[in-house]
């Protein structure tokens, strides 16, 4: 038994992405939720389920609850509510929860949302004050080891050593994402492509990561609506079918600091991959375009290896020169610019981009898209989805 074809995404809503939104997280969440309802052709009061984000173990910037949104939208009753934890790892898991809920009859229309205000709000990522007293941080924070950039840099350096991957190969990931963002008017990096020289000249933040290896920090919200294929027939948009959806922790998992297991890379994504391919009956060759969660450049080639698109040690060379990951390449990636260049909404903007590829409305549209892969954040328990055209 699988979730295949039992649920679909029917609405995308988004705010603008900015460095200073001028309004609160709740306000942005409501704006995105209303936009998703309009996009789907639903009245807000028809929403009867909601899935929010959590970060589980990090002090929350998740001030906006599902009840805040329900109250503001005039939703009479949420008969299903859930939270997907682990920050970016949660993004595809929100859709997984929603798909379970609608396919089991627990709700008709489930709203999944993320509102973030790290650029102009009071809580910013990667600052010491953002970490609560939780004993596993005692093995990292007292040593000044205190930023997401550094935590991912630690397993990235080991991966680079084991596979021979280079900073130049990572630079190509940054360049291609910027190229895609450059033609996307929603993107923070709209109209601003970069060169390899720009990449190498950008300041070193935490060796081996330079500024252009790291994601954006911006304000914004994205909301998505999930329902059943039967209900989708009566709505405005072409639905994106959920062909598979998976979550995984892997062995001996910590929040961002899983350094004690045999592999310190991203084994949770290997587990997610096994499940994605099992449920869907697809293989990496069937994926027409991939939206890889890339809070950091290295996570793109690392995921290619973990999910079986290429062999171990081939991810870095696959990115070299950029052509194989460009829109015309074998595996186009992050067509909106993704989290390195469009917007950092913990991956929810990448699910929206996956849907645009199914609808045929991306600013970097790939031809004849049948299946789209979207993945969740790494270094934490994670999730992923395959979205497909309906049959």
């Amino acid at each position: 038994m699988t979730i295949k074809n039992k649920a679909c995404i029917v609405g995308i809503g988004s705010t603008e992405f900015s460095r200073a939104s001028g309004r609160s997280e709740i306000h942005m969440a409501v704006d995105a939720a209303m936009a998703a309802c309009r996009d789907a052709g639903l009245k807000p009061e028809e929403i009867d389920g909601a899935v929010k984000f959590g970060t589980a173990g990090q002090t929350s910037t998740e001030f906006t609850t599902e009840t805040d949104v329900a109250r503001c939208l005039g939703i009479p009753n949420l008969r299903y509510f859930a939270e997907a934890p682990w920050g970016g790892g949660a993004c595809c898991a929100t859709i997984l929860h929603a798909a379970l809920a609608v396919s089991a009859g627990m709700a008709n229309y489930v709203l999944c949302f993320r509102s973030l205000k790290p650029a102009s709000g009071t809580v910013r990522y990667g600052r010491p004050a953002n970490i609560p007293i939780d004993s596993h941080w005692s093995y990292t924070m007292p040593f000044g080891f205190a930023s997401p950039t550094s935590w991912v840099a630690m397993f990235t350096r080991r991966w680079m050593y084991e596979t021979g991957a280079t900073n130049e190969q990572l630079g190509w990931v940054a360049i291609v994402c910027r190229e895609n963002a450059a033609v996307n008017p929603r993107a923070i990096f709209y109209g601003r492509p970069i060169t390899m020289e720009d990449y190498f000249n950008s300041p070193m933040l935490c060796d081996p990561f330079r500024m252009h290896d790291t994601c954006l920090e911006n304000d914004g919200a994205v909301a998505l609506i999930v329902t059943t294929p039967e209900r989708a027939k009566d709505l405005r948009q072409k639905p994106a079918y959920i062909t598979s959806a998976a979550m995984a922790t892997g062995w001996d998992s910590y929040c961002m600091t899983s350094y004690y297991r045999e592999k310190i890379g991203i084994p949770e994504m290997e587990e997610v991959g096994k499940e994605l391919w099992r449920q869907s009956g697809l293989t990496p060759k069937d994926i027409d375009v991939a939206q890889f969660y890339a809070a950091f450049t290295s996570l793109v080639p690392m995921q290619m290896e973990a999910l079986g698109f290429v062999g171990v040690g081939e991810g870095g060379p696959f990115c070299q020169g950029g052509d194989r990951i460009r829109p015309t390449g074998e595996l186009p990636i992050n067509t909106s610019g993704g989290m390195l260049s469009e917007s950092y909404i913990h991956g929810m903007n990448m699910i929206a981009e996956g849907m645009r590829q199914i609808r045929g409305t991306s600013t970097t549209q790939i031809k004849d898209v049948e299946n789209v892969l979207v993945t969740g954040g790494l270094g934490v328990p994670t999730s992923a989805l395959i979205l497909s055209q309906g049959r």
Partner: protein
């Protein structure tokens, strides 16, 4: 180079906190001893410490003094300040200890970032952070 603290910002030191089953580790650190938890039943080392052996599920666990020796498994170099207590640049190292299966996050108390390499032998040295807390850090084995 190694780690240099800007002691004006000692208030930003993240004081270790411990669950009940971790207290033995941090109490030893305060006495400038590095110990790791080991299962008396199956011999598995457990770091960070746990309430129970995750391999054989025994509760019969003990604290074993570390040899203090290991090798560099990976590292990063902070070049932009995140916490003003820690002057940049400084290294954070992931040390693979001689005790099987134990890795440990720490700093280099001596040496230069550019001299680090995979498999480089290092040994523990305790550095006083404040009146209460010494921390186990590492130096190259001469």
């Amino acid at each position: 180079m190694a780690l240099e603290l800007n002691r004006r910002y000692l208030k930003y030191f993240f004081e270790p906190v411990a669950e009940s089953f971790e207290e033995g580790f941090w109490e030893a650190v305060k006495q400038k001893k590095l110990v790791f938890q080991r299962c008396k039943e199956c011999g598995e080392f457990l770091h960070p410490p746990r309430p129970m052996c995750h391999r054989c599920h025994s509760y019969d666990l003990e604290w074993v003094k570390s040899s203090g020796k290991g090798s560099i498994y990976s590292w990063v170099v902070f070049t932009r300040e995140v916490n003003p207590l820690y002057r940049v640049p400084f290294e954070v190292v992931l040390v693979e200890m001689e005790e099987k299966g134990v890795r440990f996050i720490s700093n280099m108390a001596e040496g230069n970032p550019e001299d680090l390499y995979f498999g480089m032998p290092v040994e523990v040295v305790f550095v006083d952070i404040n009146d209460e807390w010494p921390l186990p850090m590492f130096k190259p084995v001469k």
